[in-house]
């Protein structure tokens, strides 16, 4: 088993819906045992791409192989080794947590003992043991996602495709979610995950940035950040909106983004910072200081796409 072995590969993958090209010539190679992130704004083509990897949608052009199997030629063989969790996981709301897990386990012919072991472990990892007898329809949105993950993992797949699995999940549950994913990676499972949360993208081993069906960049988060032209400065301020308005359009300012603890300003070069601070002081906008910071994926995304459709 080679650590650099490619388990999910696409070349020239294309899908059209009428005049719209949802996925446009996508080339992708995911290595065994890595967490690979598909990142992009709404409508970027993440779901469509994952559906083609999961063999639930046929591509119009290009090739896809998963685990060495040609997806178009042998969809049934692909299904046995992958797990695919759609954006909205299909739970039977009138069945209990246990019954849902059991149903999916049985379809994959998981032996009863193994099923019970895995269910217990997965439910414990997501703090759901207490709800095993509860109807899925009565779970909160985050718990539904966690149950979906448990159902998707109960047959111990070696390749896992997750479409925005943490949408609607509270921060605590998201941490649990990622612990489970890291655990899987440690076991050698390959994970291909789409997300619209850019802070989550940082947790991936490698990322592909999708926009309008095309892949713009594909690299590790660190390497992607290093690609950011210019420099990023963080301004601490009690009046972020006022500061944003004051900075926008000034010489050397390429973009301004509100973040949790202030304002991120994308500069064409690091040397501009001192000059900007002085200008701010003169204009009387409250500012508690500024410093250069390493860019986040979100900053990068905004710099690359001009902020089109990203979520905070």
């Amino acid at each position: 088993m080679n650590a650099n072995e490619i388990t999910v590969a696409a070349t020239g993958l294309t899908k059209r819906f009428g005049p719209l090209t949802a996925v446009d010539g996508l080339d992708l190679a995911v290595r065994r045992g890595e967490i690979f992130g598909l990142v992009g704004p709404d409508g970027a083509g993440k779901t469509t791409a994952l559906r083609m990897f999961a063999a639930v949608m046929a591509p119009d052009a290009g090739r896809v192989s998963v685990g060495g199997v040609d997806v178009v030629a042998e969809p049934e063989r692909v299904r046995e080794r992958i797990s695919y969790m759609p954006q909205r996981f299909g739970l039977y709301e009138d069945l209990t947590v246990d019954e849902n897990i059991r149903f999916y386990a049985e379809l994959f012919a998981v032996p009863r003992r193994l099923r019970e072991q895995r269910a217990a472990r997965l439910l414990a990892a997501s703090s759901m043991e207490r709800f095993r007898k509860r109807l899925a329809g009565q779970l909160s949105g985050g718990m539904k996602q966690k149950l979906g993950l448990a159902c998707a993992l109960v047959h111990a797949p070696s390749i896992v495709l997750l479409d925005e699995p943490t949408t609607g999940v509270d921060p605590l549950s998201r941490r649990e979610f990622w612990q489970i994913l890291y655990g899987l990676r440690a076991e050698g499972v390959t994970l291909l995950i789409s997300t619209a949360y850019l802070d989550e993208a940082e947790r991936c081993d490698r990322l592909a940035l999708l926009h309008g069906g095309r892949m713009l960049y594909c690299d590790t988060p660190a390497a992607l950040r290093a690609r950011m032209p210019g420099a990023l400065a963080e301004f601490a301020t009690p009046a972020p909106r006022q500061l944003r308005d004051a900075l926008q359009g000034r010489a050397g300012v390429l973009g301004v983004l509100l973040v949790g603890n202030g304002v991120h300003v994308h500069l064409d070069q690091a040397g501009r910072l001192a000059e900007l601070e002085r200008q701010l002081r003169d204009s009387g906008v409250p500012c508690d200081g500024a410093r250069l910071v390493p860019p986040s994926i979100e900053d990068l995304f905004v710099a690359l796409l001009g902020g089109a459709g990203t979520q905070p």
């Binding site: 739970l91 049985e106 379809l107």
Partner: protein
């Protein structure tokens, strides 16, 4: 393969069992419908509210009025004193029929001239009006026949005795008294089963699509065919149970005779369920939401009902519609179920209908399976 079908089956029954409303929804409305239809759906009219105006006051006119009074189809509610009163009775709906014997009725009869009799009918319900008019005609015919014979007997008894008469001997087979309840109840059973089974199946699959579970099932090793079989078997069982319950209501409560072999009915019902289940499945592959499925069912079930020969004779439809009825499973099952109930015929006689149902079921099932495969694209 069998195990996977079994797992789907278990899940389906679990879901049905969990659904507290299901048991109620599945059984009570169909039985209620049979009861309502059994009592309400009849072509016969009894005790039609009748107003009578006798302006002749003769022995003949009184005899005619008596003929109406003794007939169970009519109930005389008013003896009017004037034409205006008789018409008012129709206008205010207190009577549906008014019979007016004009002065000179008896005189005309005695002279051997046509004697006029005026009948006013409330045409707002043209159906019962027509039926009532038919009864009026029959009573008047009988009356004039008797009068002629009577007259002839008095003038020339010898000739009267040699007079040849044709008497129409109506004896409808299988339903000797033309009991319309016998005619209706089997048909009602067919249509109720159609509505229930098509709806249940279509909704069950569309719900999976709507909930997103269908996309999930597609990435499990289950094949479309296995999924279809697993999802339809429960509704097949429900359909059979429904048929049994409704048939028992028809035979035990409404005393509709059951002259045939229950096994023939079981065979016919199975093929009928196959074709209606497949129809429901086909609808479900065409619809993305339960609302669409509801609308589609609504548009389909009514024509199927009208074009089934259940209440409107197929032979009187335009040729184009007659052709359409050949694709209608209800058409064949109505023949089968009426024949088994009332005629007691066997498989040999019903072979064309049974084969037609099997063919429709097979074609629709094929279409549903093929479409199912592609349904995410």
């Amino acid at each position: 393969m069998l195990e996977r079908i079994w797992h789907i089956l278990v899940k389906e029954f679990l879901q049905i069992r969990r659904d507290r409303w299901a048991r109620f929804r599945l059984l009570v409305p169909p039985l209620l419908q049979v009861l309502v239809f059994g009592y309400a759906a009849t072509f016969e009219v009894f005790g039609v509210a009748t107003a009578v105006l006798d302006l002749d006051h003769s022995q003949e006119s009184r005899a005619l009025v008596a003929a109406f009074a003794h007939n169970p189809h009519f109930g005389i509610v008013r003896m009017a004193a004037s034409q205006r009163e008789a018409e008012a009775a129709i206008d205010d709906s207190s009577a549906a029929v008014a019979i007016v014997v004009h002065a000179g009725f008896a005189a005309a009869l005695r002279k051997g001239q046509p004697a006029p009799l005026q009948v006013l009918v409330d045409g707002t319900n043209s159906n019962s009006a027509l039926i009532a008019l038919g009864y009026v005609g029959a009573i008047v015919d009988t009356y004039s026949q008797a009068y002629q014979n009577d007259l002839l007997g008095r003038i020339n008894p010898k000739l009267a005795r040699t007079l040849v008469q044709i008497r129409l001997d109506e004896r409808p087979w299988y339903n000797t008294s033309l009991n319309s309840r016998w005619f209706f109840v089997p048909g009602v059973i067919a249509t109720i089963t159609l509505i229930m089974v098509v709806n249940l199946t279509a909704f069950a699959v569309v719900r999976e699509r709507e909930m997103g579970t269908l996309e999930q099932l597609m990435v499990t090793p289950i094949r479309p065919f296995e999924l279809i079989v697993g999802k339809t078997i429960p509704f097949f069982c429900i359909g059979l149970a429904l048929m049994t319950a409704v048939t028992l209501t028809g035979t035990l409560w409404f005393r509709v005779p059951f002259r045939g072999n229950p096994l023939v009915l079981l065979l016919g019902t199975s093929l009928y369920l196959l074709s209606t289940l497949s129809l429901g499945l086909t609808i479900s592959t065409l619809c993305k939401t339960q609302q669409q499925a509801f609308a589609t069912n609504f548009f389909l079930v009514n024509p199927l009902f009208i074009l089934s020969g259940f209440s409107f004779p197929i032979a009187s439809m335009p040729a184009f519609l007659q052709w359409l009825t050949y694709a209608n499973p209800v058409r064949y099952f109505i023949v089968i179920i009426r024949a088994v109930f009332l005629k007691g015929v066997g498989v040999a006689v019903l072979a064309p209908q049974l084969l037609a149902l099997a063919a429709i079921g097979a074609v629709l099932m094929g279409v549903a399976t093929l479409r199912f495969r592609k349904s995410l694209d």
